[in-house]
Amino acid sequence: MIPAAFDYARPASLDEAVRVLADAGEDAKVLAGGQSLMPLLRLRLAYPDALVDLDRLDGLREIRDDGDAVVIGALATHHQVLRDPLVNEHLPLLARATATVADPAVRHRGTFGGSLAHADPAGDLPAVALALDAVLHARSVRGEREIPAAEFFVDWMTSALEPDELLTAVRIPKLGPGWGVHYEKFHRTAQAWAIVGVACAVRRVQGAVEDVRVALTNMGPVPVRASAVERFAEGRTLSRDALRAAAAHAADGTGPPADLHGSAEYRTHLAGVLTARALTAAAGV
């Protein structure tokens, strides 16, 4: 670990944290679990002037029931999310996707909020937040605001957070009865990022698809809601063929990346196959 020099602050309260962040200017970075930032520092791909370490903000670790939603503190670790009864009961899609994130060591340090704020389209959780219509709570010295997931992921590794804003919590509406969920992650090794991932939730009512949410990991610079699939699936009879036909539209309108692990053409193909699998698994057909 040989990063370039930076200033370091470890505020004791949220108020202090946003103040420090505001004072630190545009080139400060927020340090949560460090599982994404540390490699960037180590490789000298990031040269922040200052690091604002949130380690002491224990208040941001809480996961609580908020009526029709679960509110997850930005500093809750992946491990904590995985073990949390509220998450497992009301947000099983999040639990499933979180279980596929990296490895146990990373999951013990890495945070839910950190992986959203990092806004890597290859990360698993941005797509889940998008599929579940999460609302992200941000705070700065200027006040608080709520950002819907659909507006949060702006571009490759770029979120809607302003440089002085801190992600504090994520509010995710509970899925009620009748929903089935699945996260289909396709990766070459257990610890590798998804080549493509599909986050999917299906509500079944009397043999038909009443409601469906599909979001894709790593099919563009930001996580993508597969709206065409949702449109084609909703209201259809619950059958493998119908779901597969809908899944064929998974890559519609996407601009998947090409890298060492897969060409754009291959990702386009995978999106269809994996979406079909995710849909049928979520629907239980």
């Binding site: 370039a4 020099a5 490699p39 791909l45 994130v101 290859a122 890298d259 060492l260 692990h261």
Partner: protein, 799 residues
């Protein structure tokens, strides 16, 4: 005693696993300075200027040196294997002076009071480069008019080496079956757990150089040769070393440079590489293009084999670079009989990181070629791949057998290993399931891959090395010191870097001398402690170094016998030595323990005339022949035809490595070897773009599988002792790696045969399998497209 054969837990593991030990990077003498290297961002360029003034002015920077600054003293890195008289071996400066020839080649270094200051200063060095054409593709590199890596050589060919035996024309003439295949052994990055690290400490009138190396003895000699410093002024220590797989069988520029810097500055100088730096600058492995032709009779009997290789040397020849593919010359025939064989290899320069030994070194490549061909032959003739092999392999009754490649296999039992593997694998049952899945057109198809391999190891008989123009011998040395208290110190020239010598050597010693295992301490890896040795590589430690120890123990017993006879007032010939005690044959109570003999020797009060007061002994062993481990590996792979994903369902490895000293260590070696061979088949590949940039510089891009990605291995053994050494051992360090790569690829191809697929290039990534299914054979080689979103961006990804 029964120490030999006992599955003891390794006594060195507690310290290795916890890291509470002396890794080179943990050693920090007072006043240590830290070096960092600026590396070329170009594959090929002329250096037209270096401005290091700003870097020199930075706080805590002690020195900044360029290749030009060191040109007068840095010498050239050695290549110890002149494979042909006319081999072209361009000078290889430890730090580039006028031209860089691979991305990652050092061009300047900073020495500072801490690592942070050193790395900060690197960013202030300005190097002007005039780019020259990259030479990336071997096949293009040997064509007329190709851009040259070394302009003054006039060619990119380093050498052409040929071996022929038998009448190949006759073998191919009218042959009912002729197969022609082109296989690519992709380039691999060794990826030892511990990165390279060097610390050089001026020490009176000499230097102590600590290095994470496999070869302290060879390194010492080579450092002396390169720098002109007397060998007696250099002590090399390989403290605990965390893996090498051949990558630390090298004399690296950074080792030479740390020595030169310590000499210039009169201070200890340390350098520890980063992982991404290592990916560029540790020598790579494999990288050859194989053109193979095989002639067979209609019943599957092989008549002849023609092998033509292009082997990528990279930019320079390093310690044994040119010889690596040639080790394959003796292995392409595998375990099979044939009438004619020819092997030709062209060593090719490219503007890439030099290649050299990597686990198996030439033998995995050859084994892959022949084992893939045997499966192809079976498919061509509609025969079971096991049956085709049975028709061709050397029968158990035919040993010793002189092979077409000029070796004498001393022993083997291919029938026994294969029968055992088939039973463990439930071969017939899996074939039935395969037929069923094919019938049902299951989207997940099942493939079965076979690999009946052998290898040559126990490197090596010195006379053979001499005949191959290798620059050294292949013997190994061991010394046994019996301390006055009866405890024993063993000194070995074999330098362990994870293999478990401290346990296995203590077992051999305890077994031979009849002392408790706990009473034996094994010392290695320090030229001041173990001055003689040929170090560790090529599965040689036990089969050569272990035998040297066995012989040294015998010498201890011989010495003790003289004294025991004197003490017992008996004739030497009447003494029996068992369980650490000399007894007079036929006289039950008359005896003396080794401990008592040791005490008597130490006291020296009553020694026979001419007997020295010590039992200490040493021995050097130079084998007459290689050893030839063999085995049958069977792999069942499920291939998802919709996504191209390959999942290994089961893997059976039955190895015959002769006698076993510690079955637990053997098990570990087999598991690790399998993982590395499977990694070549499915996961790993060093990828260069068209400009010669390495795009797999991080572990996010260079995929090394973990336990989570591998099946539970079923391992077993047959035991056919080697006849070439008194322990009957063969070596196991490389067997798993050599055997498994073709077993896995054969399984993948077997699954896809109904779709007309006859090959999938390695690594068999999901996309390549998918493309192969679409009839896009050979396509899908990894390439980093300009502006691709992957790579380092994803290194920060979403966690």
């Amino acid at each position: 005693m029964t120490e030999i054969g006992t599955a003891r837990r390794r006594s060195e593991d507690a310290r290795l696993v916890t890291g509470r030990t002396r890794w080179t990077d943990n050693i920090a003498p007072a006043g240590t300075l830290y070096a960092a290297f600026l590396r070329s961002p170009y594959a090929h360029a002329r250096i037209t200027g270096v401005d290091a003034e700003a870097a020199r002015r930075r706080p805590n920077v002690v020195a900044v040196l360029t290749g030009a600054d060191l040109a007068g003293e840095q010498g050239a890195l050695p290549c110890a294997w002149t494979v042909t008289e006319d081999m072209r071996n361009p000078a290889h400066p430890p730090m580039a002076v006028e031209e860089v020839r691979y991305a990652g080649e050092p061009v300047a270094c900073v020495v500072a009071r801490d690592r942070y200051a050193a790395y900060d200063a690197l960013e202030d060095i300005d190097v002007d480069y005039e780019p020259l054409p990259a030479v990336v593709d071997m096949e293009r590199a040997v064509q007329d008019g190709a851009a040259l890596v070394h302009a003054d050589l006039g060619t990119n060919e380093s050498y052409r080496w040929v071996f022929e035996n038998g009448d190949l024309d006759a073998a191919f003439r009218d042959a009912p079956v002729v197969l022609e295949r082109r296989y690519v052994q992709q380039r691999l990055i060794p990826t030892a757990m511990e990165p390279r690290a060097v610390l050089c400490e001026p020490d009176g009138d000499g230097f102590t150089l600590y290095s994470a190396t496999q070869i302290p003895h060879i390194l010492r000699l080579m450092l002396a040769t390169v720098t002109g410093i007397g060998e007696h002024r250099i002590r090399v220590v390989a403290p605990d070393v965390g893996g090498g797989f051949g990558s630390k069988l090298q004399v690296y520029g950074e080792e030479v440079l740390c020595l030169l810097l310590a000499r210039r500055l009169g201070r200890p100088v340390k350098w520890t590489e980063t992982r991404s730096e290592g990916n560029m600058a540790v020598h790579h492995g494999r990288d050859q293009i194989q053109r193979l032709r095989l002639a067979a009779d209609g019943d599957g009997r092989v008549r002849g084999l023609k092998v033509d290789l292009l082997a990528d040397m990279g930019a320079y020849l390093m310690l044994v670079t040119p010889g690596i593919p040639l080790l394959g010359a003796f292995m392409f025939n595998g375990i099979y009989k044939m009438d004619a064989y020819s092997f030709a290899c062209t060593g090719v320069f490219t503007t890439k990181t030099p290649t050299d030994a990597y686990r198996g070194a030439g033998r995995p490549e050859a084994t892959f070629g022949i084992e893939r061909l045997m499966d192809e032959l079976a498919a061509e003739l509609g025969l079971d791949p096991i049956e085709v092999r049975r028709r061709n392999w050397i029968g158990h009754g035919e040993f010793p057998y002189d092979t077409i490649a000029g070796l004498t296999y001393d022993s083997g039992d291919y029938e026994a290993a294969t029968d055992k593997a088939l039973a463990l694998f439930e071969y017939d049952k899996l074939r039935a399931e395969q037929a069923d899945r094919r019938e049902r057109r299951d989207p997940v198809q099942l493939g079965i891959g076979v690999s009946t391999f052998t290898e040559m190891c126990g490197l090596a008989p010195s006379r053979v090395l001499g005949s191959l123009s290798y620059g050294a011998g292949g013997w190994e040395h061991a010394a046994v010191r019996v301390l006055p208290s009866g405890k024993v110190e063993v000194v070995t020239g074999s330098s362990a870097h994870g293999q478990g010598h401290e346990t296995a050597w203590a077992q051999i010693t305890a077994d031979r001398l009849g002392v408790p295992f706990e009473d034996v301490k094994v010392l290695h890896g320090d030229t001041a402690v173990s001055p003689k040795g040929m170090d560790t590589y090529g599965s040689r430690s036990l089969a050569v170094g272990g035998v040297a120890l066995y012989r040294a123990c015998d010498k201890v017993i011989d010495k003790a016998r003289v004294l025991a006879a004197h003490l017992l007032e008996a004739a030497e010939g009447d003494l029996e030595f068992t369980a650490g005690r000399f007894a007079v044959r036929g006289v039950r109570d008359a005896g003396v323990t080794l401990q008592e003999v040791t005490s008597a020797a130490f006291a020296a009060h009553d020694l026979p005339d001419g007997v020295e007061p010590t039992l200490d002994s040493d021995a050097t062993f130079d084998p007459d022949n290689f050893s030839f481990p063999h085995g049958t590996h069977l792999c069942a792979a499920e291939v998802d035809t919709e996504t191209g994903m390959v999942r290994l369902r089961s893997y059976v490895a039955v190895d015959d490595i002769g006698k076993v000293v510690n079955p637990l260590i053997v098990e570990g070696q087999v598991h690790g070897g399998l993982a590395q061979g499977i990694a070549q088949a499915l996961y790993e590949e060093a990828v260069y773009d068209a400009d010669g940039n390495l795009t797999t510089t991080t572990m996010a891009d260079y995929l090394v599988p973990s336990a989570a990605d591998l099946p539970a291995f079923t391992t077993d053994r047959t035991e056919t002792p080697a006849t070439s050494n008194p322990l009957g051992v063969k070596g196991v360090g490389e067997a798993g790696t050599i055997a498994s790569t073709p077993a896995v690829v054969n399984a993948v191809v077997d699954a896809l045969r109904p779709f007309g697929v006859t090959d999938v290039p390695m690594p068999c990534t999901p996309e390549r399998v998918w493309r192969a299914l679409r009839g896009d054979q050979g396509a899908g080689h990894a390439s980093a497209e300009p502006g691709a979103a992957g790579g380092l961006g994803s290194a920060g990804g979403g966690r």
